[in-house]
Each structure stands twice: as structure tokens, then as C-alpha cells.
């Protein structure tokens, strides 16, 4: 059946829960908004169950071929829904009884649905609609607290998003004009005979929009401001979920929509990846605020992820490396943000002095997540990096792999700048700065840090889930 809504059960669960939550938020008293939180978590769990069922079935294209349900889409569903659950967990305390608590969850669900739709979209117009669905709630999430920095961050994010959205739409228009169709298989066929310059223009413009979503150079300006200005839950969201959608969409766009050998998009992505990781890592050196440091760290991580996109289609390794790394990065990064959410008063690196003395378990979680972001065994990102570097070297970009290894070594410096005071320095004279945010965020931090290790140890079982052919 061409229009089969049941095939979109995970996405529909998110959207329906969001609409119900939005309506309910109009009646719920402020102290009882946990009902919407419960609804959102329920939608995520339901979506995960539906995804598990979809994974058993055969891959298919629905809605007249505009949406593909294949291993990549299912992997995106699992990662996005898992990430949304973790974000809901770590935002329980910071947002409790906030006037806009329900709206936060509603926007989170819609943005998650948008991120999944970005990956599944097999059609340029669907990709753009999904881009908007993933972006517009994010602007709201960043500005939700309505303080001065939040509003500024939201405005910057919105203006850059609107600019890159226009660029992306212009690129999509050119490609649709060249191919007289917007579906990827049709474009792949039609663009083979189209003028090379026009195809390159369209491809570069669409890439620009996706780079904005993932925060890659040259569209990375919003990341530090948005992450630093937003509340911790919104920052945790904005550094993970949109990136999953953007990278998945880029992978599918390059491998499915562009004819092989017509334009050298791989070089473009490789250079972008090199610039992104280098800029992110070196800009993180001088940061003293934890959220800003994590923001630059995510830019560096996006650089590694883009490497997998650069070798997309060259060998079977790239796809499973991308999805494994995305899952590993998501859970590790969220563990770090959960620690930040648990210590709401600690804003700078020096505030973490003596954390190991006061909260040994929390300090352990922080160490696991930060060393995990570097790629220390046995955490998940170690396997992820190994996979990506192998795929890149097999794909013929050895220089990129060497640069990435240098970057990884350099990144150890700024993560240690955070960890060393937490473990070695004497406790701060003001222990209030390390006061607990609440049990939920602490539990989320422990759970996410544990998951990082489990994902790393059990990599052999998880890796094949991200593999499998994309639908043509």
C-alpha cells in the first residue's frame, strides 16, 4: 500500500503525543505538568516498540516513494527516540513546575519527529519540510526560558536557520528544476545528463542547509551561543537530536540523489569535515564555561561524523560506522549534559573542583563521558572512532584519518582541563556550588555513562543494526 500510515507509527506516536500534550497543557495546573512528561516518555517508548517491529519487516518506500523505511531510518528512530528519553530524564528537575514545562516536551517531541523524518525522507521536498519540522521547534526550545541569554541565543539560531533554510530551498529548487522531479531515484537518473555547474550549485546549497542542522563549518556559529544561552535540557537536545537527522539526511542525499561521479561531493564533505573538527577542537581549548566547552566539543565530534559521510557509498563500512558513532556520541554527550544538569550551580570548569570528593559516582560518570568523547577504550566512541577511521582509510582519504587522529589527541587536553580539577584538586571552599539538581538528573547521568560502556563492550552485537542497504 502506497499511503500506509502504520509504517510511520513511531513518527505518528511523537506527533500525536505532542498535539495531545499541547492541548492538555492549556488545562493542566502548573504543578501537574509531569503528566505531559509522562506522555512524552510514553510516546518515545511506544515509538521504540514500533521501531523494533518495523525492523523485523522488510524495508519499504511509502507515500509514493517520498519516505524510505530502511535500516538507516530504523537506526535513526532508535537513536532519536533513545536520545529524547534521556533528554526527558535529565530535564525532569530543571524544568519541574516551570511555566512552560509542557511546551518544552511538546516541542521536543515535534523536533524529534522532524529529525527522524529528515533521515527517512527520500524526496527533496520532504527533506525540506522535515528540515523545518526539526528546526522550528528547536528555536522555541532554545528561547524557552525567556531570560536575556536564552532570547539572544534563540534569535541567533533562528536567523541563521532562516538564512540556511532559504539557501537549502534555493538549492532544492535548482535540483528539481534540473531533474523535473523531486524524488531521489528520479533525480539520480535525471541529473546524470544535467549541466555539471548547476548540479554542483544545487548540491552545495542543499549541503549548506544540512550543515546548519548539524552545526558544521561554515554554519557552526550558532552552536556555542545557542548551547551556552539555552537551558541545560535544551542544550542537551540541540547538540544531539538535530545532528542525527542532519547527518542521516546528508548520507542519503549524497548516496541516493546525486549520480556517482557527476560532482565530487566527497571532497567537499571531506574538506568540511577537516575544517569542522579542527575548528571545534582548537576553539574548545580556551573555554572556561562548561556548556561552551561542550558546545565546541560537539563541533569537533560533528567533524568526525562528517568523515563517515565523506566516504558514503564507497564501502559498506561507512554506513554502519556513521550510525554506530551517532548512537555512541549521543549517549556519551547526553551523559556529560546530565552531569551538568545535576550540578546547576557549577557553570565554570573551576566550579568542578573536588567533585570526586563530594560525589564520587557523579565524578565517575563525568570521567566516563568525557574520556568517552575522546575515544578511550572500553567506551563506545572508541569503537566508533575505530570504525570511522577504518572506513575513511578504506575509502581513500588517509590524510583525513591522520588529521582526525591528531585532533583526537589534541582534544584530550581540554577534556582533561575539566577532569583534573574535579579529581585532583582540593574541594572548593564553597560546597554549595556543587549542590545537587535532583535525583532524576543524577540517575540519568549514571544510566547514560553505564550505557556508554555497555555500548562499547557490546559493540559486536550493535554494529550490524546500522548496516544494510539503503533503498534505491
Amino acid at each position: 500500500m502506497k499511503e500506509n500510515p502504520a509504517a510511520l507509527a513511531p513518527e505518528l506516536a511523537l506527533v500525536v503525543a505532542a498535539v495531545v500534550g499541547a492541548v492538555a497543557s492549556g488545562w493542566l495546573p502548573r504543578r501537574r505538568q509531569w503528566a505531559v512528561r509522562l506522555l512524552a516518555a510514553g510516546a518515545c517508548v511506544g515509538g521504540l516498540v514500533a521501531t523494533a517491529l518495523a525492523m523485523l519487516g522488510p524495508p519499504e518506500r511509502v507515500f509514493d516513494g517520498s519516505y524510505a523505511i530502511d535500516p538507516a531510518t530504523n537506526a535513526a528512530r532508535v537513536v532519536v527516540l533513545g536520545a529524547a528519553l534521556v533528554v526527558i530524564g535529565l530535564s525532569a528537575e530543571p524544568l519541574r513546575a516551570h511555566p512552560h514545562e509542557s511546551e518544552f516536551y511538546v516541542l521536543l517531541l515535534l523536533a524529534s519527529a522532524g529529525a527522524i523524518a529528515l533521515v527517512g525522507a527520500d524526496d527533496l521536498l520532504t527533506v525540506f519540510a522535515a528540515y523545518l519540522l526539526a528546526s522550528v521547534p528547536s528555536y522555541g526550545l532554545v528561547g524557552l526560558l525567556r531570560d536575556r541569554t536564552g532570547s539572544e541565543a534563540s534569535l541567533k539560531y533562528y536567523l541563521l536557520g532562516a538564512l540556511f533554510g532559504i539557501v537549502m530551498l534555493a538549492g532544492a529548487t535548482v535540483l528539481v528544476g534540473l531533474g523535473a522531479t523531486s524524488s531521489y531515484p528520479g533525480l539520480r537518473e535525471a541529473l546524470d545528463s544535467a549541466p555539471r555547474a548547476a548540479v554542483a550549485f544545487g548540491a552545495v546549497c542543499v549541503t549548506a542547509g544540512l550543515l546548519f542542522k548539524i552545526g558544521g563549518v561554515p554554519a557552526q556559529f550558532w552552536v556555542p551561543d545557542a548551547v551556552d544561552g539555552a537551558s541545560v535540557p535544551a542544550a542537551a537536545f540541540v547538540t544531539t537530536i538535530p545532528k542525527i537527522g542532519g547527518l542521516g539526511a546528508a548520507f542519503r542525499f549524497f548516496t541516493e540523489a546525486l549520480p556517482a561521479g557527476r560532482v565530487d561531493w566527497a571532497l567537499l564533505v571531506a574538506v568540511t569535515a577537516a575544517c569542522t573538527m579542527t575548528l571545534g577542537n582548537f576553539a574548545a581549548f580556551a573555554q572556561t564555561r562548561v556548556k561552551r566547552l561542550l558546545a565546541y566539543s560537539t563541533i569537533g565530534q560533528v567533524g568526525y561524523l562528517l568523515m563517515a559521510v565523506a566516504v558514503a557509498g564507497r564501502n559498506g563500512l561507512a554506513q554502519q560506522a556513521l550510525w554506530y558513532y551517532l548512537a555512541a556520541y549521543t549517549v556519551t554527550n547526553l551523559a556529560a549534559f546530565a552531569v551538568v544538569a545535576e550540578l546547576p550551580a557549577a557553570r565554570t570548569l573551576s566550579d568542578y573542583r573536588g567533585l570526586a570528593h563530594h560525589r564520587p559516582l557523579l565524578a565517575g560518570s563525568l570521567a566516563v563521558s568525557l574520556l568517552g568523547l575522546v575515544g578511550t577504550p572500553p567506551t563506545a566512541l572508541f569503537v566508533g572512532k575505530l570504525e570511522i577511521f577504518t572506513a575513511v582509510i578504506h575509502g581513500g582519504y588517509t590524510w583525513l584519518a591522520v588529521l582526525a587522529i591528531l585532533n583526537t589527541v589534541a582534544s584530550l587536553y581540554y577534556y582533561l582541563r575539566w577532569l583534573v580539577p574535579a579529581f585532583l584538586h582540593a574541594p572548593s571552599p564553597h560546597p554549595a556550588v556543587l549542590s545537587s539538581g535532583g535525583t532524576w538528573s543524577a540517575a540519568t547521568a549514571y544510566a547514560a555513562a553505564t550505557a556508554t560502556v555497555i555500548l562499547g563492550v557490546g559493540a559486536a552485537a550493535v554494529l550490524p543494526l546500522g548496516a544494510g542497504h539503503l533503498l534505491p
Binding site: 502548573r30 516541542l107 522535515a130 534563540s154 534540473l178 523535473a180
Partner: protein, 236 residues
């Protein structure tokens, strides 16, 4: 240059319609630029948009014509009028003095450049390597409204539905971000901040000076506290 035959077959009534609609558009456009009163400018813009809508019907683009009238003439110009009236219509200096030096000369230059570009591009096919596909769409025997409806509700059903989710987000975003902080705790009776509009109307645009805004936002915490307590009482 191979324009589709259907496009070339212009009859005399077609030409007359074109001439009238084009004249309406141009007169409207001149009126937008030359009116002293911004409200008149906005109303002249409606005239231009109607003229262009007639041209669209003439070109068999009925859907585009309807959208033009509903969205542009209906919604966007009304938005313009709201903005003009909120800012005050008596701001004579807006039309008498160039806010940007040399703006008119640059505008003229860009206008001529745009015209030359359109004339050049309309005749060639070098940008994309193919002529426009619109001619072929209009000769399949079905109106383009039907074709568009088909496309939107079959091929592009999913993006269309995603757009409907965007409207939900827009409503939530508008409520969350635009509602005044002092009513943040007041979930039962949302009130639009109409008081400021009245102030601005009566006292002119400069009455809302910065210190007042600062004061209003600075005191929002107090209001929120009050609302919180009143809210607790109404909590069943």
C-alpha cells in the same frame, strides 16, 4: 527558442486582458512608491497584487492567482497595515528623507539590472540547459489546480502533513515566546497585552521609551510571584 505552441496562441481578448491587468499593476506599483501616506501605499499594493493575479489567470495559473489574492492581498498587506498603524501614520520624515544615503540611485540601478536579467534569461536556456516545463503542464487537458491537488494529496502528502505539524509548532511558539512574562503563571486566562497598543496609539510611537520597557521587564518577577499565588488558590 522553442516556446510551446499553446503559449504563443494569444488571441485578441487575451491581449486586451493583459493590457488592462498590466496597466492596473503598473499604476498600483507607481502608487506604492509615490503615495505620501503609507496606508495609501499599502492599499495601492493590493491593486498591484490584484493586477498580477489577473495576469496569472490569463496564463492559466488559476491556483497561483487564488493564492496571490488570499495570501498576499489578504494576509500580508493586512499585516503591513497593522504594522503601519501600530507605528503611527504621521511619520512624515520616512518619505521625505533618505534613511540610507544613495538608496534611490542604487534601487534604480538594481531595478534596471533585474529587468535586463529577466529579458536575457527568458530567451535562453543556458542556466539549466532546458526550457521551462510549464508549457507542457498546461496541455495535458487538466487544469493545473487539479494537477496541483493531485500532487499535494498523493505524491507530496507527507511533506504536506509535516507542514500541518509546523502550524502546531508556530502556535505553541507564538504563545510561549510572545506572551508577556507576567502572565506566564496565568494558564487559565491568557490576555493579549492590549494596553501597550493603546498607549502607543495615543501618545505616538516614541512613548514606549526604553526605560519603561526595562522597568516593565524588570518587574516581571514580582508579577509572576503574584500570579503564582493567585494560581495556587484556584488550583482544585
Amino acid at each position: 527558442m522553442s516556446i510551446h505552441p499553446a503559449v504563443l496562441a494569444a488571441t485578441i481578448p487575451d491581449s486586451i486582458t493583459f493590457a488592462i491587468a498590466a496597466a492596473i499593476s503598473v499604476i498600483g506599483a507607481l502608487g506604492v512608491v509615490l503615495s505620501r501616506n503609507p496606508v495609501h501605499s499599502a492599499l495601492m499594493l493590493v491593486m498591484t497584487l490584484f493586477g498580477v493575479a489577473v495576469l496569472f489567470v490569463e496564463e492559466n495559473a488559476q491556483f497561483l492567482a487564488a493564492v496571490q489574492v488570499i495570501v498576499y492581498a489578504g494576509a500580508i498587506v493586512v499585516l503591513f497595515l497593522f504594522v503601519i498603524m501600530l507605528l503611527g501614520v504621521d511619520r512624515r520624515e520616512v518619505t521625505e528623507r533618505d534613511p540610507l544615503r544613495g538608496q534611490r540611485a542604487v534601487a534604480l540601478l538594481l531595478g534596471i539590472l533585474g529587468l535586463v536579467e529577466v529579458i536575457l534569461l527568458a530567451g535562453g536556456k543556458w542556466p539549466t540547459g532546458a526550457h521551462s516545463a510549464a508549457g507542457a503542464i498546461n496541455v495535458t487537458g487538466r487544469s493545473n489546480v487539479a494537477l496541483l491537488g493531485d500532487a499535494v494529496f498523493t505524491t507530496y502528502l507527507l511533506p504536506f502533513e509535516i507542514t500541518s505539524a509546523l502550524l502546531v509548532i508556530a502556535v505553541i511558539g507564538a504563545v510561549v515566546l510572545a506572551r508577556r512574562p507576567r502572565q506566564a503563571g496565568d494558564r487559565e486566562q491568557p490576555q493579549i497585552g492590549g494596553g501597550d497598543i493603546i498607549t502607543a496609539d495615543v501618545l505616538g510611537p516614541d512613548s514606549l521609551i526604553r526605560p519603561e520597557i526595562e522597568e516593565a521587564t524588570g518587574s516581571s518577577d514580582v508579577h509572576e510571584e503574584l500570579d503564582k499565588s493567585s494560581f495556587e488558590r484556584s488550583d482544585p
